[in-house]
Amino acid sequence: MNATLCSEAVAPTRQELLIFTIAGLLAGCRHVAVGAASPIPGAGALLERARSNGTPRVSVLGSTRNNFFTNGGVELFDCAAQGRIDAFFLGGGQIDGSGNVNLVGTGSYPSTEVRWPGSFGSAYLYFLVPRVILFREEHTRRVLVERVDFISAPGTSEKGIYRPGGPHALLTNLALFDYDRERRRFRLRSVHPGHGIEEVLDNTGFAFDRPDTVPQTPLPDHETLALIRGRVRDEIGEVYPRFVETAFPSGV
């Protein structure tokens, strides 16, 4: 446990740790966009904004107060292509060791065994946004596979393909990985408190790099936790009222 976390405070929940970790991945960003159905990434971006004097600007799709687009559904994509979005979040039914993501389904396309909704904007934003953070809470061999069954969006591209963007990190309930664009592989950065490297290895379907000693994912200090449970909770609650009821300790 982080020494600056006062012992009398309620310990951070799993979601609060993820929110804090995401905020750390957004340092230095000028503008972060958050897609639909993404309460934890949204809260992470709002935390980074709250503790960094209003930077980055945060656009939360589905929000009224934190959505600045006025040109319809295409604006997020145009804005990314203009280089005005520094970070975005992608999930994936499957994510493989090269950073490929699959949002379409398992088995043989088109008659997939399991069909997921579809690729949304992934096949575009993964190319255009410099810091794409792969975020998937479930950390299992079902999700983190050696090779995705369908590439909604590739993790890397051949030389000569226009690609200012790509994967930056992968965050799950167990661990945080950095993505190494040169080696086209993930590198374990830290394991969350309460979990160990063996658990990560057991539940990851792809090979990844790691340091000799794997650190623990840092926890938020008291002040940051108060910010999460106060301002950030209020701000994200506008878009995700049911999320805040479950993700944050009650009565805080």
Binding site: N71, G73, Y109, T112, P117, S119, Y124, L128
Partner: protein, 279 residues
């Protein structure tokens, strides 16, 4: 098709022929659900559904009712209510032809049609399996790549020109101008489509183009083939700044539609009971 011929939802449904390439808005952007119910009631068939850029309950119901041959979309999902069961079942059974896309590709292809262009280039996509399964998408060379760069491939998307664009909006006026506010993709749909059919919550007695502030978010009547007043026309989905989705209904729907029989029952009750909103 002149606007004055379309007086009610049945006229509107009749104006969308079997086999039409039909563009619909996303569940969160004015879905014309009352019109969709009328379409299903008239047993529309063989639709080529273009979802701008995704769909949910609207595509789900049309697919479940057997009205869709082809679906071109970036996703079909009921959001927090889960997967769209009839869509998933139809995919598994190979009952519909999938044209899986990515959101900006659908926007770009509609913009191409709105500009009378044969195609629009778009970054990204290269190396995705989407491209592998879309023989109608081509890869061309950027003609402006520096000569020493070894080339710069870029995807070219053929224009999508819908026969009909269909959506629900908060307000239209007697002249046929329609307010869509920030939901600009609805304007692109109307510019791109041959015909645009609209349902609205309310008809304004004053012309929407007269107030310069209002006018920026208005699709001029020039692009509109028919407007029908349909209060709660997005129900059981929501309409921005007006009403939210009917959570209880959607939960019941998802539970019931897991089976063919359950869906058939929902559909029969829904089509037979126009006042279900008041349940």
């Amino acid at each position: 098709m002149s606007a004055c011929q379309i007086r009610d939802l049945d006229d509107l449904a009749a104006a969308i022929p079997d086999g039409a390439k039909l563009a619909v808005s996303a569940d969160y952007s004015g879905p014309a659900m009352a019109a969709t119910r009328a379409l299903i009631r008239r047993r529309v068939r063989n639709l080529h559904l273009v979802c701008v850029p995704v769909s949910g309950l609207q595509a789900e119901l049309l697919i479940g009712a057997g009205a869709v041959d082809v679906i071109e979309t970036s996703a079909v999902t009921l959001g927090e209510y889960g997967a769209a069961p009839r869509f998933v079942a139809a995919v598994r059974r190979g009952k519909i032809t999938l044209k899986d896309a990515t959101c900006p590709a659908i926007h770009a292809a509609l913009q191409a049609a709105a500009k009378g262009l044969p195609f629009m280039p778009l970054r990204g996509i290269l190396g995705s399996d989407l491209l592998k399964h879309r023989p109608d998408w081509k890869v061309i060379e950027n003609p402006f790549a520096p000569g020493d760069s070894g080339g710069d491939p870029i995807v070219a998307l053929p224009a999508i020109k819908p026969d009909v664009a269909l959506f629900h909006a908060p307000l239209a006026d007697r002249d046929g101008n329609v307010f869509i506010g920030r939901h600009r993709e609805l304007m692109t749909m109307a510019h791109a489509a041959t015909q645009t059919l609209i349902t609205v919550e309310e008809i304004s007695e004053t012309n929407l183009l007269e107030d310069e502030r209002f006018a920026a978010g208005v699709i001029p009547a020039l692009y509109i083939s028919g407007v029908v007043e349909a209060r709660s026309g997005a129900w059981p989905l929501g309409l921005w700044n007006a009403y939210g989705e009917d959570e209880a209904f959607l939960r019941r729907y998802v539970a019931a539609a897991k089976t063919d029989a359950g869906f058939a029952d929902v559909l029969a009750r829904w089509l037979g009971e126009p006042a279900m909103a008041a349940e």
